[in-house]
C-alpha cells in the first residue's frame, strides 16, 4: 500500500468517525460498536470491493453484508463519503420520514440486506455466494459479523453448510472488538481460541489487526484463501477506536450524548486527548 493510499484511508476513516459521533445524539446510536469497524468498512469500500454507487444492481458486483447491524453508522458514514448516500439524509436519523435508523435496511443505497437480528446474514450471504458460483461469476461475497454475534448458532451452522458445499467465494469477517453489548466476550461467553474454531468448521482463517490498513490489504487481496473452503478473517479491533474516552469504557456500546458532548468528542477525535463525558451509562438493547 502506498503512503498516499494509506493517508487517503486514514482521512476517510476520520471523516467516517465524525459521522458516527454526530449520529450519537438525539436518540443516539451504537457508537462504540461502529467505531471498531470504521477502518474495515473504509478499506473495503474504498479499495477492495467492486461496489460503487453506479453498479448497485449489477449482479457481477461484489457484495458486502453487514450482519452486525449495530455498525450501520459506520456504513452510513462510509456511504456518504464515497457518494452512495446524500449527507443530508443523515440529518434524518431516527426520523420516520426516512429510513436512517439503528439498523441497516435496503432503503439506503448500498445496503444489500436488512440486519439487526444477529446470526442471520451469514446464511443469506451463503445463498448469494452459492448463486454467484452457480452462474460462474467470481465476485466476492463478504459478510461482517460481530464477535458477540458468534454466540448465535446459525453463524456456525451456515459455515458448516458453506464448507460442505465448498463455497470458497464466501468470506466471513469478524469484527473482534472483544465486547458483546456491554460485557467483555471473554468474561461472558469466551471465544478464544477463535481461529481454530473456524478451522475446525472447515474454513481457512487469517487473523489481523483490523485497524492496520496494510494488514487489511494483505489479507483481503489474498482472497480466496482456498479453492474449496470459505475464508474467515478475524479483525482484532478496539471498541470505540479513535476516541480514548469511549475506548476506556465498557458501557459505551450504545451512546446518546448531548450536543455539547458531541462537540467535545469531535475535538477529542482530532486531538486524541481524552475528554470526560458525563452522560449516564446506557445499557439499552
Amino acid at each position: 500500500m502506498t503512503p498516499e493510499t494509506q493517508q487517503k484511508l486514514e482521512k476517510l476513516a476520520l471523516k467516517v468517525r465524525e459521522h458516527i459521533v454526530r449520529l450519537s445524539t438525539d436518540g443516539g446510536c451504537f457508537t462504540g460498536a461502529s467505531l471498531s469497524c470504521a477502518d474495515l468498512l473504509v478499506y473495503l469500500y474504498s479499495e477492495l470491493l467492486n461496489v460503487r454507487p453506479d453498479n448497485l444492481t449489477d449482479p457481477t458486483r461484489d457484495y458486502l453484508f453487514l450482519s452486525k447491524g449495530h455498525d450501520v453508522p459506520a456504513l452510513y458514514g462510509t456511504f456518504v463519503e464515497l457518494g452512495f448516500l446524500d449527507k443530508a439524509r443523515l440529518d434524518q436519523h431516527l426520523s420516520t420520514d426516512d429510513h436512517i435508523y439503528w439498523h441497516p435496511n435496503r432503503h439506503v443505497p448500498g445496503v444489500e440486506f436488512h440486519s439487526g437480528s444477529l446470526g442471520h446474514l451469514p446464511s443469506v450471504a451463503l445463498g448469494v455466494a452459492m448463486d454467484c458460483k452457480m452462474r460462474g461469476q467470481d465476485n466476492k461475497v463478504i459478510v461482517i459479523t460481530g464477535d458477540g454475534e458468534l454466540n448465535e448458532g446459525t453463524v456456525w451452522e451456515s459455515l458448516l453448510v458453506a464448507s460442505a458445499h465448498k463455497v470458497n467465494n464466501l468470506t466471513l469477517v469478524v469484527d473482534r472488538n472483544h465486547f458483546q453489548a456491554n460485557v467483555a466476550t471473554e468474561d461472558l461467553i469466551p471465544l478464544e481460541p477463535l481461529a481454530p474454531k473456524f478451522e475446525a468448521f472447515g474454513c481457512e482463517v487469517r487473523r489481523i489487526d483490523g485497524h492496520d490498513f496494510k494488514q487489511l490489504e494483505e489479507a483481503f487481496s489474498a482472497l480466496p484463501f482456498s479453492d474449496s473452503k470459505p475464508s474467515v478473517i478475524i479483525c482484532d479491533t478496539v471498541r470505540g477506536r479513535g476516541l480514548p474516552s469511549i475506548e476506556a469504557r465498557a458501557d459505551r456500546w450504545f451512546c446518546n450524548f448531548s450536543s455539547e458532548e458531541v462537540e467535545e468528542l469531535l475535538r477529542e477525535l482530532h486531538s486524541q486527548v481524552a475528554t470526560t463525558l458525563t452522560s449516564e451509562t446506557l445499557t439499552v438493547r
Binding site: 449482479p59 444489500e112 440486506f113 436488512h114 437480528s117 442471520h120 446474514l121 451469514p122 446464511s123 443469506v124 450471504a125 451463503l126 445463498g127 448469494v128 455466494a129 452459492m130 448463486d131 454467484c132 458460483k133 452457480m134 446459525t154 451452522e157 451456515s158 458448516l160 453448510v161 460442505a164 458445499h165
Partner: protein, 317 residues
C-alpha cells in the same frame, strides 16, 4: 403427474427455480440428478436453509424449500419472518407432514400452529390443498406469484374432481341450507364422508374447500354466513389462529354474527398413532365429524353409520 414431476418440469422450464431441502427428500428424491447445482441440500439446518433461500431469492431465484412443516415454520420462524418476510422475497415453503399427516411422530413434529404463524407474517400467503390433485392444481400459480408462500404439502390421493385453482378463491363443493362445513387440507376427504352421512339423515349440507387461507375467500365465507346455516370449521390445527380464528375475524370486521361449531385441537397436542387411529381418537373421521355436528344440533339420539375406513398415510420422513 405427481409433485416431483411437476417441480421437475417447472424447474427445467424456468431457471429461476431452485429446489432446496434440509435433508427431507421424500418427495424430491430424483431431482438432484436432474437439477444438478439447482438442487441444494443444506442438511438438517432449517434456519440456514431459509437464510440461504433468501440470499438466492435476492439474486433472482425462486427457491422451493422443503422441510418438515413443524421445523420449517417453528424452528426457522424468525428467519422466515425476518429474512423472507421483511425482504418480501418469493421463497416458496413446502412443509411436509403438516397437521395430522405427522400421525406417528408425536408432539415435537406436529405442525398444528403453522397456519397461525405463517399468516401472521405480512405478505406471506398460505395454502392447504385437500389432496395431491388439489395441490398440483394450485402450485403453478403459487410458484409464479412474486409473494412468499407457505404450502401445507398433501400428497394423499383423492377421489374428488377439483375445479381449476384461482388465487384467493375457495372451492365451493356444495351449498347447503342446514349446515356448511368449511375445511382445508387433508381433512377434506373426511368432510366429504361427513357430508354424505349428514345428507343421508335428510340434511342439506354445504361444503367448502378453502384451498387458500391467505388470501382468504372472504366473499365466499360471507355468502355462507348470510345464508344462515350452522357453520362448522374443521381443521387439523390448534383452534387459535387457524380457520376458526380467520372466520371470527371476518365476522367481527363485517359486524356479523353466526352459529359456528369449531372442530379443531383445543389446548393440546394430539395422540400419536397410525393416521386412522389418530382420526378415530381425536374425533376427526367423517363419521365422528358427522356425529359431533349432529350432537351439536341437539340430536344425540340420531345414529350415524360409520363411513369408509381411513386410508393410512404413506410414511414420509
Amino acid at each position: 403427474m405427481n409433485y416431483e414431476e411437476l417441480i421437475k418440469q417447472t424447474a427445467l422450464a424456468d431457471e429461476r427455480i431452485v429446489v432446496m431441502t434440509a435433508e427431507n427428500r421424500a418427495l424430491i428424491r430424483n431431482l438432484p440428478a436432474v437439477l444438478g447445482p439447482r438442487f441444494i441440500d443444506t442438511g438438517i439446518t432449517e434456519q440456514t436453509l431459509i437464510g440461504a433461500a433468501a440470499g438466492l431469492a435476492l439474486r433472482g431465484r425462486v427457491p422451493v424449500v422443503h422441510a418438515l412443516a413443524t421445523f420449517l415454520t417453528l424452528r426457522a420462524f424468525e428467519f422466515i419472518r425476518t429474512d423472507v418476510g421483511i425482504g418480501q422475497l418469493p421463497v416458496k415453503l413446502s412443509g411436509f407432514v403438516p397437521g395430522f399427516l405427522s400421525d406417528g411422530n408425536g408432539p415435537t413434529h406436529q405442525a398444528i400452529e403453522d397456519v397461525s404463524l405463517m399468516r401472521g407474517i405480512p405478505g406471506m400467503t398460505v395454502f392447504a390443498p385437500a389432496d395431491e390433485a388439489d395441490m398440483l392444481a394450485m402450485l403453478p400459480a403459487i410458484w409464479a406469484s412474486p409473494q412468499p408462500a407457505y404450502l401445507r404439502v398433501n400428497t394423499r390421493p383423492g377421489t374428488y374432481q377439483h375445479a381449476p385453482f384461482e388465487m384467493g378463491k375457495a372451492e365451493i363443493v356444495a351449498e347447503g341450507t342446514d349446515i356448511t362445513i368449511l375445511t382445508y387440507g387433508m381433512l377434506f376427504e373426511q368432510t366429504l364422508v361427513a357430508r354424505e352421512l349428514l345428507q343421508a339423515q335428510g340434511k342439506s349440507v354445504g361444503l367448502i374447500n378453502l384451498r387458500s387461507l391467505k388470501p382468504i375467500d372472504e366473499a365466499a365465507l360471507l355468502d355462507v354466513v348470510r345464508r344462515g346455516s350452522l357453520i362448522v370449521t374443521v381443521e387439523d390445527h390448534f383452534i387459535t389462529g387457524g380457520l376458526y380464528s380467520i372466520l371470527a375475524e371476518i365476522l367481527l370486521r363485517n359486524q356479523l354474527t353466526a352459529r359456528v361449531l369449531p372442530l379443531a385441537l383445543e389446548e393440546r397436542w394430539y395422540r400419536p398413532g397410525r393416521l386412522s387411529a389418530v382420526l378415530e381418537h381425536e374425533g376427526f373421521t367423517g363419521h365422528h365429524i358427522a356425529r359431533r355436528i349432529t350432537e351439536h344440533l341437539g340430536e344425540s339420539g340420531a345414529t350415524i353409520a360409520p363411513g369408509p375406513t381411513v386410508l393410512e398415510n404413506e410414511f414420509a420422513e
